[in-house]
Symmetry: C2
């Protein structure tokens, strides 16, 4: 099965909206062993939709389309597909009922434009949308399939999992792939490649493939076999070897985030954590509690953005500011140690740094960050020089804080 | 000028990396009056790159390519383009020096793979990359232009602004567009469309176009004229009319975020703000201090994730938990009022809600959120029913908190 993706929307081309639908669908399908061969973004123009769909159907067996199903005047996907497949729009009563119920449940008035969303081409199968007002549509012609889904992510995703995937599985044999991933942090892509070069060569000689999947602060390494479960044991062995080579840079598997891994360690050790944040300003606390159930180990956090609050809440003495500055080993260690006491937690992570764009000096340029971890019996800290922009510096600091705590929880940091 | 974009990378197709480059380039160029006509993601395969490039060059005058220039074995864009344009790879000494300096400045050892990044096709103009090790490349053939840029966003962006745009402006006449945007919050796309329907009809009759650009909690409305500055006054008048129609839902212009608008209001009123957060767990504080210079008005924050910290830090009495629960008007108003005192700020925003996926009840389903704002003289609060997933509920709560403070600062909320 060859599958291509068309995302329709001027807002995607002019960059107003980031195309998270393409990445989500790509990831979702790749985990089912289906590869999106090509993904194309086009504008809300009838001719563009028709031309692109024709092109894609020349190559692909399945074309998934997202977007352009909204109630406003620039949403033209439904009428265009209706014409393309030579159908007529007819009122679809079950959809009308769902839309009516949708508005009733929210206590909101239903508009004429919403009623029109229940007009559906009579040449498609309706894919029921329980999370919004635009249903999905499944068209077939000459053995090829075209699926149209709303562009709103939380409407599109359940339609993919509950409606589209089961129907695709009925129609196509899914490739038998077997994949394992290893998550790394604290080491760049080049250095990682150098470190695992011999291992990688061996892997490729065995017909397996390796993907480096970097995001800020993280590189995911993914091994893929196209022989499926029969390669399972060999892939597993190779991944174990890989972990040994990588050592402390290895932090988790598959989709693990650092926050998840740290959360699991804290749960296993029945320990709690809190944060005292300056440059990250709550972003570290927010990252920790992104994990559902974080309340089992996360107590809370103090953002001491001003020096006044650093004094009042975590008792950083004036001399520390005058002698070392707020971005210093001395300051961040006091923040962590005092946070441990006042938050009454087993571990406290503290951050202080120059996120930028302003505030840098020759001694402490933008991107200079101190992170400390306090625990019952001590505190340790580390300086980082991220040198990126504000957003990236904050993001990298969040990951650095979680990683230091992880290493401490694993007894990899002597104390 | 017709421009198409090719993003190369398996990691984009399998959804490991979100394609923020496409959105950034789309937005950057659209502000220059250049529209990305189509944007295509393909895999790191030589044949795919060659085929796609040929297809794009049949339609477009300019093709911008990102990705596949890294030092690892799966990065094949450079060698493919070198062959496509019938050149040879030669050592480019200025690039080698930049790479050497890049590693020296970071105190890191240079690897053989990095040296190879200084091998450049002798048929292109080198676009100097000051932020990484892979330079950009500018190819020309038969009056058409192909630009290859690294996929790392903070390397790609300066190359676009400093190298690519000036060169494009030398070669092409840029369309004379004039655009104005209005940012709205607290009203959905359908209701907004209904509210401004007559105005929108008038606008379209005058040959102007309107785009609805929704993101969670926000709808941006963008008016475009293709007559450039000559339409300036008329667009301005129409936008003023629009603001009157929208009323309190209108919060800013162009790229304003709610955090920026609130920051400006606080600066103008010489006031300070802090937050006491439960379900948002620092995300509201982090959003406020995303704005460079936020330290002028943002003091800090307390995340009282556990009820124990709600008692200890902001003195929520046990009876409130037993009688109303932590997700209640009573609790969130005490959090805000006590936060005002302990953080010593002029305004304090508090949040408490059920972000999900667990913790919902029949009375208080997932997505039930209370937000309060305290000020000198009082406190007010509002309940929201977002009903989304965890991530979205947190994001919507952050925006709701900022919007309530905005309305208070504008005296739109009686107190």
């Amino acid at each position: 099965m060859r599958l291509e993706l068309i995302n329709i929307g001027d807002e995607l081309l002019i960059g107003q909206t980031i195309n998270t639908n393409a990445s989500w669908i790509g990831q979702f399908l790749s985990e089912q062993g289906v590869r999106v061969s090509k993904s194309i973004v086009i504008q809300d123009e009838k001719m563009d939709i028709v031309t692109q769909l024709t092109e894609c159907l020349n190559r692909a067996d399945v074309v998934i389309i997202t977007g352009g199903l909204g109630p406003t005047k620039d949403d033209i996907t439904k009428i265009t597909l209706c014409e393309y497949f030579e159908g007529n729009l007819v009122m679809h009563e079950p959809t009308l009922k769902l839309i009516t119920d949708y508005f009733a449940a929210r206590g909101r008035a239903m508009l004429e434009t919403n009623v029109q969303q229940a007009l559906i081409p009579d040449v498609c199968t309706v894919l029921t949308n329980l999370n919004g007002t635009a249903p999905g549509m499944w068209f077939e012609r000459n053995g090829k399939i075209v699926v149209s889904l709303p562009g709103v992510p939380y409407e599109m995703k359940p339609l993919m999992t509950d409606e589209v995937l089961p129907r695709l599985k009925e129609r196509f044999e899914f490739a038998d792939i077997f994949q394992m991933s290893v998550m790394t942090t604290g080491i760049g892509e080049s250095f990682l490649a150098e470190k695992i070069s011999d291992w990688e060569t061996k892997l490729r000689q065995e017909g397996l493939s390796l993907a480096y999947l970097p995001s800020p602060g993280i590189v995911r390494l993914r091994v893929t076999s196209y022989k499926g479960q029969s390669d399972r044991n060999r892939v597993y062995e190779l991944v174990q070897e890989l972990k040994t080579i990588i050592g402390d840079y290895y932090y988790g598997e598959e989709h693990d985030s650092l926050a998840q891994v740290v959360g699991k360690l804290l749960m296993a050790q029945k320990s709690t954590v809190g944060t005292v944040e300056s440059c990250t300003s709550g972003a570290l606390a927010a990252e920790i509690s992104k994990i559902p159930g974080a309340s089992a180990y996360f107590e809370g956090s103090i953002t001491t953005y001003s020096n006044a609050l650093k004094k009042r809440f975590v008792h950083v003495p004036e001399e520390v500011f005058s002698q070392h500055g707020a971005v210093s080993k001395e300051c961040v260690e006091i923040m962590a140690a005092e946070g441990l006491k006042t938050l009454q937690v087993d571990y406290c992570i503290a951050t202080s740094g120059i996120a930028g764009p302003d505030g840098g000096t020759i001694d402490k340029p933008v991107g200079t960050i101190w992170v400390a971890v306090a625990f019952n019996g001590g505190v340790f800290s580390k300086q980082f020089s991220f040198g990126g922009n504000r957003e990236r510096n904050i993001q990298m600091t969040v990951l650095a804080g979680l990683n230091l705590l992880r290493l401490k929880l694993l007894n990899r940091i002597p104390a």
